[in-house]
């Protein structure tokens, strides 16, 4: 059963003001309905005027994603009635979008690159936000916050060319990185990237899954939906063409049922907004170094592996962080940052921008000098990250190493410890003697435990071998 996935990604542009009025888009820390003016509240008599910067940002994306920008594009009204839509229409683009075509290259399943083609990119305004309150048929009501109303969005539509949730995740990672590199999107703003997905099994009807509000939920939502569809096919149940909503908390998709109104959006050109003739601007737009170029540069400049380079450039802030700390020791900084630090940050849900790079670089220097073992260095890193998370001023690695006595010691000073471990674990010693391969690792582990990681495991293994030879 071949899986076919197409995505529609809504990305908030990080302009200072909304798409059609001068209200600030920086509303997330403020109360409801505090970033609202007569225009974005849709008060009678108000008129939209297009934010030039938003158009430039959207064109930047179009250029970076290799789209064609037609000579003429225009805004249109999409008419529907919902309390989050204060004008009862959304200003969007319909049959004349800002950009057509384009593609993104992602890492293919078996290595190499796979090209995912785009259908179009268009601009539109974000609706407000609804909060559902009360209970019972007559007790329920809706609260509306229009702070988000009018925030500029681009919608990027892909061709149905993704073949697995994993590929979708890779696509989104790549897209997100590119948008960040372009400086038009702020990943730290909650809900700034939202995804709708069209999913089908080849030969069957297509289902649209909406409301995937967290970018991390995409792989989960897709996996659930594919499993559901495959299950239905196995049971000979019919897959109907429908819209389903992703329920983030439960990790399931549910049918949006057709109790909603019949939709006929009655698109027509927005009479209050002049059309755009901006294709000639594209040439003047200077693109920054994008993820692929940076990856290739990292490999060349720092001599690091493709995998490490890909990981380190997959996030703008991470790439910048790496370049700040790597000087003179990329062979240590690359694996440490891509493998160890990233894991610790994910575990803590901590952004890389919070890592104190002075401390981190000092730690890498300790590792390079060989003054701590990798195990101890990880312990020091965790301590530093925890201190930051708890709002304390982090200690320098040297201070922590001294305070906890984590200095790597020479192997010979552990001979006594090794001897006592061997005495306490006669069974394992016997196993080792009889040639069981895993026994030595067990014994090394016991010694590491007893020395709290200060010893070099290779040294310990050698000492164990020496002692048992006698």
């Amino acid at each position: 059963m071949t899986v076919i996935i197409g995505l529609e990604i809504h990305c908030q542009l990080n302009t200072k003001t909304k798409l059609f009025c001068g209200c600030s888009t920086d509303y997330r820390d403020d109360g409801p309905n505090t970033h609202v003016c007569p225009v974005c509240l849709g008060l009678p008599g108000t008129l939209p005027v297009t934010n030039k910067q938003a158009v430039i940002y959207a064109l930047r994306v179009a250029k970076a994603l290799h789209c064609e920008v037609p000579a003429f594009s225009e805004f249109a009204r999409k008419n529907y009635f919902y309390p989050d839509l204060p004008k009862a229409f959304q200003i969007t683009q319909y049959d004349k979008p800002l950009a057509l075509g384009g593609y993104i290259e992602i890492e293919a399943e078996g290595g190499g690159e796979k090209r995912i083609e785009l259908t179009r990119i268009h601009m539109e305004e974000d609706p407000g936000r609804l909060v559902h309150k009360g209970s019972g048929d007559r007790g329920r009501y809706t609260l509306v916050d229009y702070n988000r109303s009018g925030v500029p969005l681009i919608e990027i539509v892909t061709e149905p060319q993704l073949s697995s949730p994993k590929e979708a995740r890779r696509f989104l990672n790549k897209l997100r990185a590119t948008l960040e590199y372009l400086g038009i999107y702020d990943s730290e703003r909650e809900g700034s990237l939202r995804v709708d997905a069209n999913i089908s099994i080849k030969g069957y009807e297509r289902v649209e899954v909406k409301n995937i509000t967290s970018y991390k939920g995409v792989e989960k939502a897709l996996t659930f939906e594919i499993t559901r569809q495959k299950g239905m096919i196995r049971r000979n149940a019919q897959i109907v063409r429908e819209t389903r909503h992703y329920q983030e908390a439960r990790g399931v998709t549910t049918s949006a049922r057709s109790k909603e109104m019949e939709h006929d959006y009655r698109y027509f050109p927005e009479p209050d907004l002049a059309p755009l003739e901006v294709s000639s601007w594209v040439e003047e737009i200077a693109l920054p170094e994008l993820p692929d170029a940076r990856r290739d540069r990292f490999m060349q400049q720092y001599g690091i592996s493709q995998n490490h380079a890909r990981t380190l450039t997959g996030d703008l802030k991470l790439a910048e962080f790496f370049e700040e700390v790597t000087s003179g020791m990329p062979e240590i900084a690359a694996p440490w940052t891509a493998d160890i630090l990233l894991g610790e940050l994910n575990y803590r849900d901590m952004p890389v921008t919070k890592v104190p790079n002075l401390h981190y670089r000092a730690l890498l220097e300790e590792v390079k000098k060989g003054s701590v073992t990798d195990t101890s260095a990880v312990e020091v890193l965790r301590l530093i990250l925890n201190q930051v998370m708890e709002g304390q001023a982090p200690e320098m690695p040297g201070v922590i190493i001294a305070r906890l006595g984590l200095s790597k010691e020479e192997g010979e000073s552990f001979v006594e410890v090794v001897a006592s471990v061997l005495k306490e674990n006669e069974a394992a010693v016997a196993d080792h003697r009889s040639g069981k391969a895993g026994a030595i690792n067990f014994l090394v582990g016991q010694v590491m435990k007893a020395t709290r990681g200060r010893a070099d495991p290779k040294e310990i293994a050698r000492i164990i071998g020496d002692l048992l030879k006698d």
Binding site: T17, V49, T50, P83, V131, T142, A274
Partner: protein, 89 residues
């Protein structure tokens, strides 16, 4: 010719309540009006741009928003700064 059913369908799309008696009245009137609009059938082509200009923009400069009180002053029963609407689910 539009039928009562057509008018009822449009009322559904437009989400606007129409009584049965009114449906009858509107259907008759719509037929007369749409017949008059039929003169447009002989127009060649279609959908020209309504605009004579392009590229009208504003700069990305923050302007003051309304005070929350001003936003809420015409709304019924606001709650904690939010505006209240009928239930949607």
């Amino acid at each position: 010719m539009v039928t009562k059913e057509d008018v009822a369908h449009i009322a559904t799309i437009a989400d606007i309540g129409v009584d049965d008696s009114e449906l009858e009245l509107f259907t008759g009137q719509f037929n007369a009006i749409l017949e008059y609009f039929g003169v447009l059938d002989s127009v060649e082509g279609g959908a020209d741009a309504v605009h004579s200009r392009t590229n009208v923009f504003r700069e990305d400069l923050v302007k003051p928003s309304l005070l929350n009180d001003e936003v809420l002053m015409n709304a019924q029963d606001p709650e904690d700064g939010f505006i209240r609407a009928p239930r949607v689910i």
